[in-house]
């Protein structure tokens, strides 16, 4: 009938903490035309293999991990390991299967093509 908590079994965390790297939101530009939406995100120093892009249920989650591998002695360090992470809402009109991404000069460019049915259409009037 003891209320004491300190004798209960619990999982032991390693006393050596696994270091959490800071998370920041990358700066983005979003532009749109009739056929697609383009998303540019600044992710300097992120390797292609460390980027994940997930689209699920109308939410686009971007994540990119940068590893700064220091060499020798540090004289100064203004940027370090970081995780770029940001989530966006994706309109229903996007054709998820055709989304593609490219990485150039530390900038991630996402092409989000619109589905055929969502494109603007000119309707012709027939002469009756």
């Amino acid at each position: 009938m003891s209320e004491r908590q300190d004798v209960t079994v619990r999982e032991e965390a390693l006393s050596e903490r696994n270091r959490q790297i800071p998370t920041v939101a990358p700066l983005v530009d979003i532009v749109e035309n009739e056929n697609e939406i383009l998303l540019f995100a600044d992710m300097p120093g992120v390797d292609k293999n460390n980027i994940s892009i997930n689209i699920d249920n109308g939410r686009l989650a971007l994540s990119g991990v940068r590893e700064v591998k220091p060499v020798g002695a540090v004289i100064w360090e203004e940027f370090a390991d970081v995780e770029y992470r940001r989530t966006f809402s994706v309109p229903q009109s996007i054709d998820v299967a055709k989304v593609n991404a490219e990485l150039k000069e530390g900038v991630l460019l996402l092409h989000l093509p619109k589905a055929e049915s969502a494109k603007p259409r000119q309707i012709e009037i027939k002469v009756g």
Partner: protein, 148 residues
């Protein structure tokens, strides 16, 4: 009651998590050069790292979206100057929904902590990071001294 060191450790862990979710604001607070909350190229210039490997000095600069042609690096004695320009890359015929990145130009200069050999400079640009490897001048290199 903290009966064990692990409880304390757990609290630290929670604080670390809190800090990382806030984008490391507390860490930034300790770094005087950074303007708060801005990541990437700003008006005050891009962020840099400098390392000393004994033989070389290595400088890394965050320059996302800047092409090789738009960067210039000048070395004069132990004075180094880096310039760069980023043009807006908004494609024709698109309407903008959100513009955070924008155009920018910057100049950053440093006085290097040791003399370098202007003939031994390598510059490379990968994934938006400019890396400069500057070979130190002979007198500035570390030397092993033999005890007689």
């Amino acid at each position: 009651m903290w009966t064990r060191i692990r409880d304390f450790d757990r609290m630290i862990q929670a604080m670390d998590l809190f800090n990382s979710r806030l984008g490391g604001v507390f860490e930034n607070y300790q770094r005087p050069r950074l303007s708060a909350g801005t990541w990437g190229v700003t008006e005050s210039g891009p962020r840099t790292n400098m390392y000393d490997t004994g033989e070389n000095l290595e400088i890394r600069v965050e320059v996302p979206g800047i092409k090789k042609e738009d960067l210039s690096v000048k070395l004069q004695g132990n004075y180094l100057e880096i310039r760069g320009t980023r043009k807006a890359e908004n494609p024709e015929g698109y309407t903008a929904h959100r513009v955070e990145r924008g155009e920018t130009s910057f100049t950053r200069s440093f006085t290097l902590p040791s003399e370098v050999d202007a003939g031994k400079v390598e510059a490379s640009l990968k994934d938006g990071i400019l890396t400069l490897i500057l070979g130190k001048a002979e007198p500035a290199k570390p030397k092993q001294i033999v005890i007689s």
